[in-house]
Each structure stands twice: as C-alpha cells, then as structure tokens.
C-alpha cells in the first residue's frame, strides 16, 4: 500500500506554551507519550503529545506539564535519554545541560564550548555520553558518569558550525553535519571518519535505522539520501518543482531539520518561506523515500513562517512540527 494514503495529516493537538519560536521538538522515548519542546524563550517544556480527552477534533494546550528553565539564551536542541529519566538541552548560552525529568533540575552542566551549541544527542551504552555540536566548530563528548568538567574527547575536524548530530547506536557511529558543507560520520569501532562533501551548508543529518543510508539536508533546498558505504546518492528530495497549488520545500537560510518517518519509508522535513513574501506560510513536506515523490504537504497554519523542526513518533503514528510562532502542532 502506498504510504500516501496512510501519512497522517490531521491536526490533533496544538501546543501554545512557548512565547518564542520553537527550535527543537522531540518525543519522549518509547512509547512517546510526551513531547519535549525547546524554544527561543529559553525554556524547555514537557507536554503530553496526545491529550487525554479526545472529544473534539483539535485540542489546544496552553500550559505545559513541566517547565525547565535554566538556559540564559534560546534553547537550540533537546535530546531525551532512552529511559526517559533524563534529557539534555543545549542553547545559545554555550551550555550543555543534563536534566532530571522528574525533579526538573539540572543534573550536570557542561560549559566547555566556546560558542552557541547547536545540537545535542545521547550516545553510548546506557546513554552515558552526551554529544554536543557547537558553533565553535567542535563536537564535544561529555561523560555523564563522571564529575569531570572536561569532555571525554573533542572532535575538531569540522571547519564551521556543527549544526546537527545523529548517533547511530547499532553501528557505534556519530554522524555530524556542519556548515562547512560536509557530513562526517565518526565510526568508533573502525576508528575511521568518513567525510562526504555536500558543497552546501548542512543543516540536518540523520542515519537510517539500518545504518546504510544518511539523510542530509543542505541549504540549497535539497535533502539528499547518501549511501553510507560509498557516499553515492541514493535519492534526492526537494528537486522537482512543486505541484501547482502546493508550496515547495525551501531551505536556504535557516536550520531546518529533516527526519525519517514511518519506518524509514518517508522523509519528513519542515520548511521556510520566502522572507520577502508577507503572506506565505510554511509547509511541512513529506516524500516517499523510494520514489522521491511528495506524498504530503501540510500547511503549518496562518502566519507561520518557518517550521524548523519535526519529530516522528513511530508508536503513536503521529508527528510534531515546531513553528516559528511558538506553537507546536501534532498531527496524527
């Protein structure tokens, strides 16, 4: 059955808890009941992904379950540990925070970065390592089990801001994308770093679940799927002209994250709008991985200029998009 029919495009929940643009959205680890959102209003909010009462078609929530406020600047990325007990957040204040979800306090604060921290992920066995990528062109690997203030290791290969990190646990590798136009995959087991040149600033990297493909978003409004083995292009998205009446995918200035959804059958990405266009609204676009066709293009609502991040919840079959007007919309 083609995934077009199944891709959920119905708005089920709108979160209006943030005052600033939402920079990061992530579902809690399995089963993904909650959603963590990081925003430019310097707070991380924990909310229910799908509200309990399911009477009306679309529900609005204005207050989160929990607010996590410690950052001094906007929160740029959030990552949840596998046991849902902790999460990590990074932001423009050059800090990496490790939070206790229940108590709402920071367990660890690492301040080894010299510039804005753009991306964070958990890694290692039992999520014992926090990987953070920063605008100081480094990736720092922090040990959650020691009290050391220094990172275990600093990866300095990038020559520009590290904008995105994805840890692929089965292959023990860390994929990173940088504004220097390169996607680097650090393979710990082999001790090799493979560098793929994309020629345009990379805003998002994502490994497929089997670890054979790498999804890379670049600022030339393209999303490419590369073969991790030899770097060849498997599929490119966002190339064909948008069908009439639908807005095309656009990513030329901002950090727009893309993800793989529906068991790696669908590529889902937010989008930005033309800065000059007053009335344009951003779309979330979904492509079929195999054919490269656009299977869904969901408008993010009136006055939304950018959908900078999306998250997919496999269990619930729903996805969330963080919008520039502070709302997070969950479709199911």
């Amino acid at each position: 059955m083609p995934p077009t029919k199944q891709f959920p495009t119905k708005l089920v929940h709108t979160l209006k808890t943030h005052n600033g643009p939402v920079n990061a959205v992530t579902f809690s680890s399995y089963p993904g009941t909650y959603v963590l959102t990081g925003s430019s209003d310097r707070a991380v909010h924990l909310s229910r992904a799908i509200p309990n009462q399911t009477g009306t078609s679309s529900v609005e929530t204005t207050s989160p379950i929990q607010r996590y406020e410690a950052h001094g600047y906007s929160v740029l990325d959030v990552a949840v540990a596998g046991d849902n007990a902790r999460f990590a957040s990074v932001g423009g204040d050059r800090q990496v925070f490790l939070w206790d979800v229940e108590q709402g306090i920071t367990v660890k604060r690492w301040s080894g970065h010299g510039a804005r921290v753009e991306a964070v992920q958990f890694a290692g066995q039992g999520d014992s390592v926090v990987v953070s990528g920063s605008a100081d062109t480094t990736i720092n690997l922090w040990d959650t089990r020691s009290n050391s203030t220094k990172p275990i290791q600093t990866l300095t290969e990038a020559t520009d801001t590290v904008s995105s990190i994805h840890v692929h646990a089965p292959t023990h590798s860390i994929a990173s994308g940088s504004y220097d136009g390169r996607a680097r995959i650090y393979d710990l087991r082999m001790g090799r770093t493979t560098v793929d040149v994309l020629a345009h600033a990379v805003t998002s990297v994502r490994c497929s679940a089997d670890g054979n493909a790498l999804l890379v978003s670049t600022l030339d409004s393209r999303i490419r799927m590369l073969d991790r083995a030899d770097g060849k292009l498997l599929q490119a998205f966002g190339i064909r002209d948008p069908p009439p009446g639908r807005a095309g995918y656009r990513n030329s200035e901002l950090r727009i994250r893309s993800i793989l959804a529906k068991g790696d059958a669908v590529v889902l990405s937010g989008s930005e709008t033309d800065q000059g266009d007053q009335f344009a609204q951003a779309y979330v676009v979904a492509w079929d991985v195999l054919s490269g066709e656009v299977i869904a293009s969901v408008p993010a609502g009136e006055g939304v200029k950018v959908v900078s991040c999306v998250a997919w919840n496999e269990k619930g079959g729903c996805w969330a998009g963080g919008c520039s007007n502070g709302t997070v919309k969950i479709y199911g």
Partner: protein
C-alpha cells in the same frame, strides 16, 4: 594461492611455523634474509617519532620545522600550513616579493583604511589648497585641468642641460657679475662662458576699468600681503588671476596713510611715532625739519628695480608715438642678448611688447548710437535663415561613406577590406564590450562574395566546431565510469542523458550533434557542452584525487610587472588569488556523489569513549597511559606497536592494500616462489625497512594517469 590473508594471520602463521615451541616471550623471527625482522635494528635516520594520533612529530624544514607548530598543529585546522615550495630557479629576481602594509592588516584595518581615503586630485594638480609659494601661478578652477610641476618642455630643457633661472640659448662669453661693487671695483677682466640671462616674460595686463592709467586705488586691509596680490580681487574665479609677469611682483608703490576713514586701526599702525594720524591739519603742509624738504620721497638708488620688466607699470607712462617706435626698431638694430642680430623676419620681444601694449589700450566704450540713426549700408540681401544648413549638418546628411567619397575625389581604392565590413552588428558589439573601444568602424554585415557563401554542410561544420574538443580516450573513460556509477548530474536525469550523449559523440559512437535543451539558444547549448567537457576532464579519478596534492607552479608569485601595476592602481583593494576549487566540492555541486566526494580519515577515539560505547578500541588507538595495560590479551599487533612503529596508520600516501597489490604486480624477487610455498609469500614490504627503490609502477600509479585505477 588463495586470497590475501590478513596481516595478523600471516604473522601468527609465520611464527607458528618457525618457532612452534615458544610459549613465553617473543619468538625470534625466522632465519631468512628475505623475511622482515620487525624487532631488528632500524637506523636512527629511519626511525620516526609520532604523537598519540599517529602524526609525525619531527619535521623537516619544508614541512614545518622540528616540532611543526604549537603542539604539532601544522597542517591541521588550528595550525598554519607550510607554504608549498615553488622553485625560484627560473625567475630569480621576480621572486622578491615586497611586503606591503596591507599584508599586516586585518580586515578591520583594511576597511578603516578604505574609509579614510578621500577623493582628491593628485599632487601635481595643485588647484586647491596649494601652498605654492608663488600665488601668481594660482589659477582657480583652471588648475584642476592643467598639471602643475614640470611641464614636458621644462623636462626636455633640463635634459639638455638647462637649469632654472637661466635663459635659453647658446652660452655667452662675458665677465663674471659678482654684484654691483665687484663689477665696478675689481679690475678682473677675465671672461667666462655663462649661460644667457633669462629674458623676462612679457606680461600683458589688460585694462578693463575706467580708472586712470597707473591708478592703484585705495589700499585695503588685505593688500599688505606679498607683492603682486593686489589685483586678486578682480581675478576671474574660473580662469584665475590675469596673466601677469613675475617681474611686477615687486611693485614699489610708496605706502600712503589711509585717508578714507576716521581713526587708525592696528594694521595701519606702522610703529613709527613721527606720523601722528591724529595731528591736526594736513601733514604735508608743514615742514618739521628745515632744509630737508621732500627728502623722504626720494628712494635710494639700490631700492629701485634695476630692470623693469614692464616699463608701463614702473615708469611713468610716456607717450611714444608709433613713428618713433618704428624708427627705433628699423634703425636701432637692437641686438639679442647674445650680441647677435635677430633673425630675419623676427622682432625683438621688447619692441613688440611696447607695440602691443600701446595698441591694446585703445578699448574705450563705444559711442552711443543715436536712436534714429540708420546705417546707410544695408546688407545686400537678407539670407533666408530657415533653410540654412551648417557644414557639419550637411556632412551628417550626406550618405557618402569614406569609400564613395574617395571614389568621388578620384582617389585610388585602398587594397583589401576591413574585417568590420563582414561583421554583424552583434559581433561588433561584443568586440566593443571586450576591448572597451567605442570608436570601432561600423559593422556592415556584408555577405561573403559570390561563390563563397556558407553551404549547409559548412554551417553544420561550424556548429561542430562549437562542440568542445574532448580527447576520445577521456570520453570513453568517462563513459565506462558512468556504467559503474561515476556519473555527474545524478539529480537531473535529463541533463545526465545529455551529458551521456555528448560523451558518446566525443567517443565516436554517434555522428549527429549533441542534444540540446528545447528552446535554448546556441550560446546556452555551447556553454552546457563546455561544462560537460570540463566535467569529463576534471573527474577522472586519478587527476581528481591528485589535483589536491599538487599545485601548479603558475600559481606561485606573480610576475613583477603586474605586481607593480596592481600596486600602482589600488593597493588596498588587493584580493588574494582565488584558490582553485576543491574537486570534491565541484563534484558535489554538479551532483556527482560517490568516490569523488567521499574521503576517509583516521579517527582516534579515546579509550574512555570506547569504553562508554562498549566497543573495542580500534587498533591504531594507542594505549592510554592512565589505563593499565592488559597483559592477558594483547592486541594482535601489540608487538609491532611496542617495536615503535605502526603497521597501518595515516602516514601512507596510498593505502596498504594498494601497495600490496602493486608490489605483487611488480613481481619482486620472490614472485617465483609464491606459487609453491605460501609460507614465504611476502605480501607487504615496508618501504621504511627495505631500502630498495620501489617498482616503476608505483611511481606511475601516483604520478601518471592510469586508466585502470578507477575504483570500480
């Protein structure tokens, strides 16, 4: 022989064979000269010191020096990169690059310097703000257009030996003039050769006012400036003050006390007490000293100018009739300064000046014409102005071109025609754009003469000429690579197919012209074909990989000639030469992802990180000094690591496998024994240990272009 075994397996097997009973310690290597002994003595000059990341620690002068920067950072992102050595053998002197101030400025400084620059005329155009000592030369706005300083004439004169202050002409033999006294007192009759005296420049001052001759007007406050400035107020704002000679700058008009106003100002105070401006009565009417009447007014002889350059201004105007002048000129035989008579037909400048001045003064206001006066002389016939055509307009209206004019005038036709006669206006436009010249002859777009018109076949041939040349071999190679996925434009299937067609055409598989996008002009089509040709040329696997290793010598220091040019034009806007684009980026830009865009470098995860990830550390990661060395299961290559060098690492130029294969292919000494005894197979020889020169193939593989080296 079966496939190649892993190095560790081979070593283990070798040891098991040679020393099967060694249970403790490290067995000695087999007693065979051809087998490498890894514990053997390596001369010091062959040993290599590496840091914890396997980078070379000690470097030669050309690679960064002893320790290569702060913490061995040379060549890495943080460190500086050693300059590529460019031989100066061929261009010795040019190599001396001058350091400029801008080399030591950062962007901010350069920007500031740019901002502080302001537009002004060059120094030699000394129109405004000039502190020229001679205000006579100042000429208002006119100075903007003429350059001060030395004119070409002065330069030429100086080259011929002339000096400022001298006159022009042959040298004069005369007595030395050492001032007035010595000339009279000293009886030195020696005669020397002197440069002639400078003849004074004739000054022609036009009189435009109605004041009497010699009238100076009231002296004003500003008039106390340097001599000759008095007439500045009636100077033309555009053309500057009127032409005056230098000679009149010392005008010796006796200063008189002002009488125009009451009181006396500070500036009028001469400091002398004997002139009391407030004393009663006219001063002149009293004689204060008896017998000394009007002595004051006499100027001493020395104060008087010796030679008045302009007799009109310094002397009292005396009427000289034309007759007397003519008589004087004709009879006097006035001589030039060198004692010779003026040339035939020439007059002495002195005589002319008096002539011209006297004739110049006859400009009076014309008499008023009575209202009812009518001229008796009426113009013979009123010309009809309406159909008057000026010569220039008539010339414009003429349809004659130079050739027909020449025919009318009966000139002989010049042989041949200009290339512009055959050019179309568009191509002329292009030439105008390229050369920047707008005065090119008009393009006539003439057709070729009879019998020379382009045939259809010729037209096709011209189109073929537009198709860029590409070596057939390269095209075939690119096509074969395309089969294995080495193909750019993976994002645009149409373009890719056009690229393939182009390659096929150039490989000789097709005869018709390469495809073109519908509704594209020939120029676009040609541009795309050129892009294809470049893509096929550039993305040969070997050249692509090697291009980043070598830089061409032409990118070295530029020639001195254009160096000075750029300095002269604009040193602050100097931009460094653009680096050649990384072939990987170029490949990525045209969508050719694959081996071109993929590279691999070593990654050295720390032990702790590997522990956190629960993976065995990669072999090339050296043991942490803090970690206790596990003796129970030493890594397979632990022995080699302790021996002080690495079996695999980042230092090889080409990977170990390629090296092995090449070594096998070269067929070194043991190739014959390979088939019989797998034990003595020597799959890899380490260059660091064997002093023999490697086979020719290696050099070929590295430096030559090799077609079977594509990684298919």
């Amino acid at each position: 022989m079966a496939g190649k075994r892993a190095r560790a397996a081979f070593e283990a097997d070798l040891q098991a064979h040679v020393s099967p009973y060694a249970f403790y310690g490290t067995p000695l290597p087999p007693l065979d000269a051809s087998v490498r002994d890894d514990g053997s003595y390596v001369p010091i000059w062959k040993q290599e010191v590496t840091d914890d990341r396997g980078r070379k620690r000690l470097h030669g002068a050309f690679t960064g020096g002893f320790s290569a920067g702060y913490f061995n950072t040379v060549g890495s992102k943080e460190g500086w990169t050693p300059a590529t050595f460019v031989s100066s053998r061929q261009n010795r002197a040019k190599n001396a690059q001058q350091q400029r101030v801008e080399d030591f400025m950062d962007e901010e400084d350069i920007r500031e310097a740019e901002e502080s620059r302001s537009l002004h005329t060059a120094n030699e155009f000394s129109g405004f703000g000039s502190t020229d000592a001679d205000p006579n030369r100042r000429g208002g706005l006119m100075d903007l257009f003429k350059s001060g300083g030395e004119t070409m004439g002065i330069k030429l004169l100086k080259k011929m030996g002339w000096k400022e202050g001298q006159g022009i002409g042959p040298k004069v033999r005369r007595k030395a003039q050492l001032g007035e006294e010595s000339a009279y007192g000293g009886g030195d009759d020696k005669v020397y050769l002197f440069a002639p005296d400078n003849s004074p420049v004739v000054s022609l001052t036009q009189k435009t006012d109605h004041k009497g001759l010699g009238f100076e007007g009231e002296s004003r406050l500003g008039s106390q400036r340097a001599g000759g400035d008095e007439s500045d107020e009636d100077a033309d704002p555009f053309f500057g003050r009127r032409l005056t000679g230098q000679g009149i700058s010392k005008r010796s008009t006796p200063k008189k006390p002002r009488r125009g106003a009451f009181g006396v100002g500070v500036l009028n105070d001469t400091g002398s007490d004997d002139e009391d401006p407030y004393s009663l009565g006219p001063q002149i009417s009293y004689n204060r000293v008896i017998g000394k009447e009007k002595k004051k007014k006499k100027l001493p002889d020395e104060a008087k100018p010796k030679v008045a350059s302009n007799p009109l201004l310094n002397n009292k105007p005396v009427f000289i009739s034309k007759k007397t002048i003519a008589a004087r000129n004709s009879t006097g035989f006035r001589k030039c300064h060198d004692g010779r008579l003026p040339l035939d037909g020439f007059l002495l400048a002195d005589g002319i000046s008096s002539l011209t001045i006297s004739s110049q003064e006859k400009k009076y206001a014309p008499p008023e014409i009575p209202n009812d006066w009518k001229s008796s002389k009426a113009s013979s016939k009123e010309r009809d102005i309406s159909n008057y055509v000026s010569t220039a307009e008539a010339a414009k209206a003429s349809s004659l071109d130079p050739m027909s004019r020449a025919a009318l005038l009966g000139e002989t036709q010049l042989p041949g025609k200009s290339i512009f006669d055959w050019m179309t206006p568009e191509s002329r436009e292009r030439i105008v754009k390229l050369t920047g010249k707008t005065d090119l002859p008009p393009a006539l777009g003439e057709k070729a003469p009879e019998g020379y018109e382009l045939s259809e076949a010729q037209r096709r041939k011209d189109l073929w000429d537009l198709v860029p040349k590409l070596d057939k071999q390269i095209a075939v190679q690119a096509l074969t690579r395309a089969v294995s996925g080495w193909m750019p434009y993976s994002e645009d299937p149409d373009k890719r197919s056009r690229y393939r067609t182009f390659l096929e055409v150039r490989a000789g598989l097709r005869d018709n012209l390469p495809d073109r996008v519908s509704e594209s002009s020939t120029d676009e089509w040609v541009a795309e074909l050129h892009e294809f040709a470049r893509a096929a040329e550039v993305f040969k696997p070997m050249s692509g990989a090697m291009a980043s290793r070598f830089t061409s010598a032409s990118s070295g220091p530029r020639g001195s000639s254009d160096e000075t040019d750029s300095l002269a034009t604009d040193p602050l806007l100097h931009n460094p030469a653009k680096k050649p684009e990384d072939p990987a980026i170029a490949a990525a830009k045209i969508g050719m992802f694959g081996p071109m865009t993929r590279s691999s470098i070593s990654f050295y995860p720390t032990r702790l990180l590997c522990k956190r990830f629960n993976v065995k550390p990669p072999d090339h990661v050296q043991a942490d000094p803090s970690d206790p060395v596990k003796h129970s299961d030493p890594p397979a290559e632990g022995r080699f690591q302790s021996a002080g060098y690495q079996t695999s690492g980042p230092k090889e130029l080409i990977s170990q496998e390629v090296m092995d294969q090449l070594m096998l292919e070269t067929g070194t000494s043991n190739s014959a024994t390979e088939n019989h005894k797998p034990v003595v197979v020597e799959p890899d020889r380490n260059e660091a240990l064997e002093a023999e020169r490697p086979g020719e193939e290696i050099f070929k593989a590295i430096f030559g272009s090799d077609e079977e080296d594509d990684e298919s």
